[in-house]
Symmetry: C2
Subunit: 480 residues, 2 copies
């Protein structure tokens, strides 16, 4: 083995943590392999691992079917001859869509424009305009390989002074943000969401933090991250709070980074609708710099493996857009099959088109199943002594709080684990269900949570196992 | 417009340069749009833009056809029902391949293992073992979204001390290296390739540089980048030099970063064969840390838009592998259609399988066409007064040197351009051919080159235009 050691590497890398694919996920993968290799003699108390650690609807075992339209267009772009070899295999609107994309792109084996195929960016702009009622411009849109790539790039650009450039992030947060800040030596400025009020965002709390940071004078706040609908919380921010957030960004000269990848995962849209920050910024008339992120990995699409998404820049000057272009050009271009996915997401089949009925049926089924599962899971979890769970109106997750006894906390300490990690490992060992401990997302001192996805098949059995485990765990480590 | 200005951004970003998609490419794109929008009245002296700035074989206008096998497997993975809807559209081995991948992966709409699908990594290991004759291990292989993503990650990890951690890079080089070093504030230590000796690599030159760097004591060399076959040079490094390079890396404790993405683009394999650095390191018995990169974007594949590739770690400790895993896990996973592409690249159809004959025909045609074009282009360019061009035995490019007169250099200066940029802009304006000026790759003071791809259709017309332009340019700016 060579002399190269961890000490020779960039020390910032050591501080990067990403719990969603961390210790729990690695152990779950080992169990999965064990079960696969010894189906009848694995010696584990379960026969399959349920990966509830990650919002990955189409993964094996969850098997949310892909939307047929998307896959048909993708297949025709992959293998153009199919149009002639199997002309009856595809609806007319699918063939027309593939023809139109082919006319623009040619082979998807070619690099595209680094910012994304111009025609697809035009379609994204039309989608945004139809959603918000205000113009959007293809030149301000960057297609990406999923939202994460864009978030990482923007954060790396905003950290002008390592250790001193600060970015406000919600707690709990999706750990991409803390991981990226650690990688690029940015200073996280955590603001806490209010669990007692449905995980709401408090502008007063953010303002106090900004004042405190200003007085201390060590960190220069550069940007505010908002995740709406929330991850892991599933909360939706009301319009009034959105207005206040934009006002705050103007006052403190913050770039607003709006992670809106769950914008179509709405379980009670009548009471908890989604409003984009693009719309709020435009209607405010303020010159707040906004970057908003979207993705094909979530929503009803769930096309995580295709790696597609986009971000839109609002009130960002042309010279900064040119710098972003320069940076994405080094990575050549986003995956073409991800870009094709974005086109299908922003231009779904319309009423009257051949694919419309199936599209509607498939997407309705996904929305309905998710809403029903969440309702069922929230009710079941809240019925358990020592578990409380906010009823999420959005996204794909629940983030229940669990009461752990002093005995459990001691037992965790004795094996060198955080109490919530100890709990989640025990849950995995007993049930095969892999969740992510709250410490991976952040929580108040002394509180314990876990995040689980609401993507399981057979929700009764799934939540039943969670409940049974919690009761057994509490018996083993009782509150005195 | 918001108050956010370029001065608020990470200053390292400003130093990033990537000429392959820079000024020339942006202007070429503008011409392309102009011609497209006004096909009969564009007012330009050409009717199509030829993008010779980038190794992108399947792009519109070049139209190297994709390999059928790859596209058939990809389409079946995209749209699984095709197997039943159009059972006769696919050869048996294609269906078997897709079934095998489906069995392992399930939907390609799901995130995979962050390091890449385990089965595909096993196939990569088998490919490496068959190529080199020595074992390779799936745990040491990371699938990536093209080679660039891996190169960027590894360099970012190796720069432990911004401004002081040095990486040796060849000049001329592929500008991904200087761009990535600029982004992460690494110190490039440029070593010059010898044009008079077929762009060969001189170990003595590298050694002197290392001694000089050591004496100056400002920069700590951490790694040595080797591009083999070379980009932009097309040179192949002989085995003896490879042995010396490995010895040098051991002596100076350098990580060897071997960019081997052109390993199958060999135009005279009998005299200029490819030997992987993995093989050389293993046979040396030395514990040199090596990371070698491969890609589906080059070779006969040319599947750039799919974004697929891998890197293999040799003599890298498990704790460093775990850190690399942690970093790639933040980006979730490489595009699944890129991973499928890697599987097809490392497991092409075998003799006796239904797809073999077509595969052989298609790949032979690509190899043959490239070798013939290069032979033709080198001969035509070398016949021009003031142009000299090394006859590349590998990769996809030529890197001719051009003699520019004092008049031309003055004319360039008067418009604030580097002389080679001035030449390349004039070439684009006159012919629609977009090449990359040598300053984007690096060249000795006072020398001028450009890189052009050898991927054009109609080589006679293409090279004819280059020759004619050079003669006109020399008439306009004569040597006195």
């Amino acid at each position: 083995m060579s002399k190269l050691s961890v000490d020779d590497l960039n020390p910032a890398i050591r501080n990067v943590q990403y719990a969603v694919r961390g210790e729990l996920a690695i152990k779950a993968e080992q169990y999965r392999v064990k079960v696969q290799q010894n189906p009848t003699s694995h010696g584990l108390p379960f026969n399959h691992v349920i990966s509830s650690n990650i919002g990955n609807p189409q993964q094996k075992g969850l098997d949310q079917p892909p939307l047929t339209f998307v896959r048909q267009v993708a297949a025709l772009m992959d293998y153009r001859d199919l149009k002639n070899i199997a002309p009856n295999a595809f609806p007319k609107d699918v063939i027309a869509r593939a023809d139109e994309l082919w006319e623009e792109i040619g082979s998807i084996g070619a690099y595209s424009h680094s910012q994304g195929v111009p025609l697809i960016r035009r379609h994204v702009a039309e989608f945004i305009q139809a959603r918000d009622g205000y113009p959007a411009y293809p030149e301000h849109i960057f297609l990406t390989g999923g939202a994460s790539a864009g978030v990482s790039l923007l954060i790396s650009m905003l950290i002008s002074d390592p250790g001193k450039s600060g970015i406000l992030i919600p707690i709990p947060q999706y750990p991409l943000y803390t991981a990226t800040l650690a990688q690029f030596s940015g200073a996280p400025i955590p603001y806490y969401l209010d669990e007692t009020n449905g995980w709401s965002t408090s502008v007063n709390e953010i303002r106090s933090l900004l004042e405190k940071t200003r007085q201390e004078g060590k960190v220069q706040p550069k940007a505010l991250v908002i995740i709406n609908p929330g991850n892991p919380t599933g909360a939706l921010i009301d319009r009034n709070t959105q207005d206040e957030i934009v006002h705050l960004c103007e006052q403190y000269n913050l770039v607003l980074l709006a992670d809106e990848v769950y914008q179509t995962n709405l379980h009670r849209p009548e009471t908890h609708p989604f409003t984009s920050f693009k719309k709020v910024v435009v209607e405010s008339g303020k010159d707040v710099a906004l970057v908003s992120f979207h993705s094909i990995s979530k929503g009803v699409f769930g096309e995580c493996g295709r790696r597609g998404g986009y971000f839109e820049c609002t009130n960002i000057s042309d010279d900064i857009i040119a710098m972003i272009y320069k940076m994405v050009s080094v990575t050549l271009c986003p995956p073409l099959q991800g870009q094709i996915g974005v086109d299908c997401m922003v231009r779904p089949p319309k009423k009257g088109e051949e694919s419309y009925a199936l599209w509607e049926k498939e997407t309705n089924a996904i929305h309905k199943a998710l809403a029903e599962r969440i309702r069922h899971m929230v009710a079941a979890l809240n019925a358990v002594e020592g578990v409380s769970c906010v009823d999420s109106p959005g996204a794909l997750y629940l983030y229940p709080q669990i009461q752990l006894s002093d005995k459990a906390i001691e037992a965790a300490k004795s094996v060198g684990k955080a109490p919530d990690v100890f709990y989640a490992l025990a849950l995995l060992d007993a049930t095969g269900i892999c969740v992510v401990p709250g410490s991976g997302f952040g929580q108040k001192e002394g509180e314990h949570h876990y995040r689980l996805t609401c993507l399981c098949p057979g929700v009764e059995e799934y939540v039943g196992k969670l409940v049974e485990f919690h009761e057994d765990f509490t018996k083993k480590y009782p509150h005195v």
